[in-house]
């Protein structure tokens, strides 16, 4: 009796330990061979699987659009209907833990076959050897479906590491009523753009003061939290620095234009057009400020914000309690980023998409081809049409345009035209930047640029001090000859 009790206790203790181990030991990268369901046979492991062999493709996907994750079951069914021998297994993730989840899996050597990430993240996985080059398995039918520019963003060197889902412009967003009250010809700005000087004067007119206190700012841009690198990154494109490296592969943020840009951005706060607390304003806060009439213009602006503002307007009309507290009705106007230092306008374009990964084992040719099929399925046709319509994003595949033809989308035509104008001078993709250089630039951005920018916005350092710090770090990383000195 006593032994039974001891045995039971031991079993419970062991079960607890084993369950803990199981939780940590998941491996969802099958490389075409990890499970019978995935490969159908062990032949897949040796690379000699039949073309019709069963296979499972795993995908780690965040909520790309408001309704995206609701459609996962249907997407899995549709994929299986199109490829009866293949199973698409989708693992949902939130935006907050997407990168961390993926990075942990990648570094453990067991990433998913496909993950939805920004194309600017490809370089670091290529450098690790964990991104999977699909060049030899992407058929001409697949690649021919995409617009050329966004497809280029999915390349690094000569490799193609996935397929793009959309190409979005990071712009600014304005409140139509406030813009018109300030006498700003927003239609002209949408068409012809504006210089820094014009922008500076315009946002000054948007400021409303009650005594000493400011009840409305001219411009508020999110600079805290996940948005910390956006402000400078977006503005730098239109300051003659479309990428961190120029075409001679020299680090660009040591150019005198960079110093001028920093000076200009500080000036907007000193003018009182932007809040002095800007360094603590995160994405949620500035959107709240925009909807509650505390700013005339906000950034960054994405196409989907027009939809969000429209939905909030409907809630206000319906006296729905879930409308943003104290919000006012806003007609959202897409506005371009101003140009700095006499540079030409270059739009900050974001291409996100389905990037392919490999595990510790080399995937079989068959499994690689199946990954390409799944990435293409997710980024084109009906799936892309539904998602991009939900996001108000422009379609970048012929198949999605065809599928979207019958789907209604109520988008302001002026905004639509403004986005097209910005896309016409989108920053070109830079697959030529070696992964190693790209990784060093990311480290300078995280360790020097973002912290110094926070200090500059908080008025703790001068633009020259920040410029000097960036230059010092750049010389340490790339050498005197590796940076722009103009």
């Amino acid at each position: 009796m006593m032994n039974k009790g001891k045995a039971l206790s031991l079993m419970l203790a062991a079960t607890l330990s084993v369950s803990a181990l199981t939780a940590c030991g998941g491996n969802n990268n099958n490389n075409g061979a990890a499970s019978p369901a995935a490969s159908g046979s062990s032949a897949a492991a040796s690379g000699s699987a039949d073309a019709g062999a069963k296979d499972t493709i795993t995908a780690l996907l965040p909520p790309v659009s408001p309704t995206y994750q609701d459609n996962f079951d249907q997407m899995e069914k549709d994929f299986n209907a199109q490829y009866p021998n293949l199973t698409l297994k989708i693992e949902p993730a939130s935006w907050e833990d997407m990168t961390q989840k993926l990075d942990t899996q990648v570094n453990a050597g067991s990433p998913p076959d496909i993950a939805f990430i920004g194309s600017d993240g490809i370089a670091k996985y290529v450098q690790q050897g964990m991104a999977l080059d699909l060049t030899d398995v992407a058929t001409s039918e697949m690649t021919g479906d995409y617009d050329a520019t966004p497809l280029e963003y999915m390349k690094n060197g000569s490799g193609l590491y996935g397929f793009p889902a959309y190409m979005e412009v990071h712009a600014l967003g304005g409140n139509k009523q406030f813009l018109e009250e300030a006498g700003i010809d927003w239609k002209k700005v949408q068409k012809d753009g504006w210089t820094y000087e014009e922008f500076r004067e315009a946002i000054k007119k948007g400021v409303v003061k009650n005594g000493d206190a400011t009840s409305r700012y001219g411009f508020v841009f999110a600079t805290a939290g996940v948005a910390s690198k956006d402000y400078l990154g977006i503005m730098a494109k239109s300051a003659g620095m479309p990428a961190a490296f120029n075409e001679d592969m020299k680090y660009a943020y040591t150019s005198k234009n960079y110093l001028e840009l920093l000076t200009d951005l500080r000036q907007l706060i000193d003018d009182g057009s932007m809040p002095k607390e800007l360094s603590s304003v995160d994405a949620g806060k500035r959107w709240n400020m925009f909807l509650t009439g505390q700013t005339m213009i906000t950034g960054k602006g994405l196409a989907t914000f027009e939809n969000s503002a429209k939905k909030n307007n409907e809630k206000i009309d319906a006296k729905d309690g879930s409308a943003v507290k104290d919000s006012i009705k806003v007609d959202y106007i897409v506005l371009p980023v101003p140009t700095f230092a006499g540079a030409l306008p270059i739009s900050y374009t974001v291409v996100d998409g389905y990037v392919a990964f490999r595990g510790k084992k080399e995937p079989t040719a068959e499994h690689k081809a199946n990954i390409a099929k799944a990435a293409y399925f997710l980024s084109s046709g009906k799936v892309a049409a539904t998602t991009n319509n939900d996001l108000f994003a422009a379609h970048i595949t012929k198949s999605a345009r065809d599928a979207a033809a019958s789907m209604p989308m109520e988008r302001d035509p002026n905004n639509q035209a403004a986005v097209q104008t910005m896309l016409s001078h989108a920053a070109p993709a830079r697959p030529d930047i070696p992964a190693e250089l790209g990784a060093k630039a990311i480290k300078i951005e995280n360790e020097v640029i973002i912290p110094k920018m926070q200090a500059l916005l908080a008025n703790e350092i001068k633009p020259q001090e920040m410029y000097d710090a960036v230059k010092k770090a750049a010389i340490a990383a790339f050498g005197e000859d590796g940076i722009v000195q103009d």
Partner: protein, 300 residues
Amino acid sequence: MAQPAQSAKKRKIKGDGVWGYAFIAVALIVYAMFTAYPVLSAFIISFQEYKPLGSTYIGFDNYTATLKDDLFWKSIKNTLVYTVLTVPVALLLSFLVAIMILPLRKKLQAVFKAVYYLPVVASGVALSLVWLWIFDPMPGGIFNQFIGWFGAHNQNWLGASATAMFSLVIMAWLSSHGASIIIYLAALLGIDDSYYEAADLDGASFLQKLWHIVIPSLKPTTLFLLVTAVIGSFQVFQNAYLMTGGGPDHATTMVGLLIFDNAFKYFEFGKAAAQSLILALIIALVSLFQFKFLGKDVDY
């Protein structure tokens, strides 16, 4: 007759011993897998340039790079400042709360213990959201409204170097003392009543009893809490990660956050492992110092 009895006893001991080893084995396996193995792996990785598809040995490069890195020393300094500002105040607050709870009836004691322990079990992310709301930099923020009553202008609490560290310290002062309070209460309840009775007979005041009975009796508990709080404070990560991200200008970059960034932002696992081991060494030295100089007259 004596021989069979002795062998039966031996067998019994042998049987119990097997069970003992079996139970120890479960804990030992878990310890080996989740503590010893990761520490050993970290030690090995600290001499490597880590890559999932095959790492390369680079000797002491990660250690020398760390020791030459200004940011590493800045993060150590920030962590030290945070520890010095938070740990003594946190211990004092826990002690005072425990003293105030002690005279209450048992049920009321349980209520207060639960209330003070609640933040320990609450999600750190949820608590951070509340604190972000409290530290809202705009005039509507709770702290800004509070200082506004005294005529002060609103502060950019988390966005300015002058106030960012102080804001994290306030957070530490005002949250998560639950475990320390419960340990202090247990220790207070363990003090023999005869000491208080003798002091009463001598006409000792509350403060005299506190100084001559309570504080000396709680010395082992205080030392334990001090050592564990300093260790916890050196490893602080969550508050800086969620509230400031280490900014502005690295004013709140703690060494735990730096290790995380090196590992998960830059994939420099070798450097992160080297920094972790240097941190472990610093913590061990600080703990040794505490035991040597503060634990001299502590009886366990």
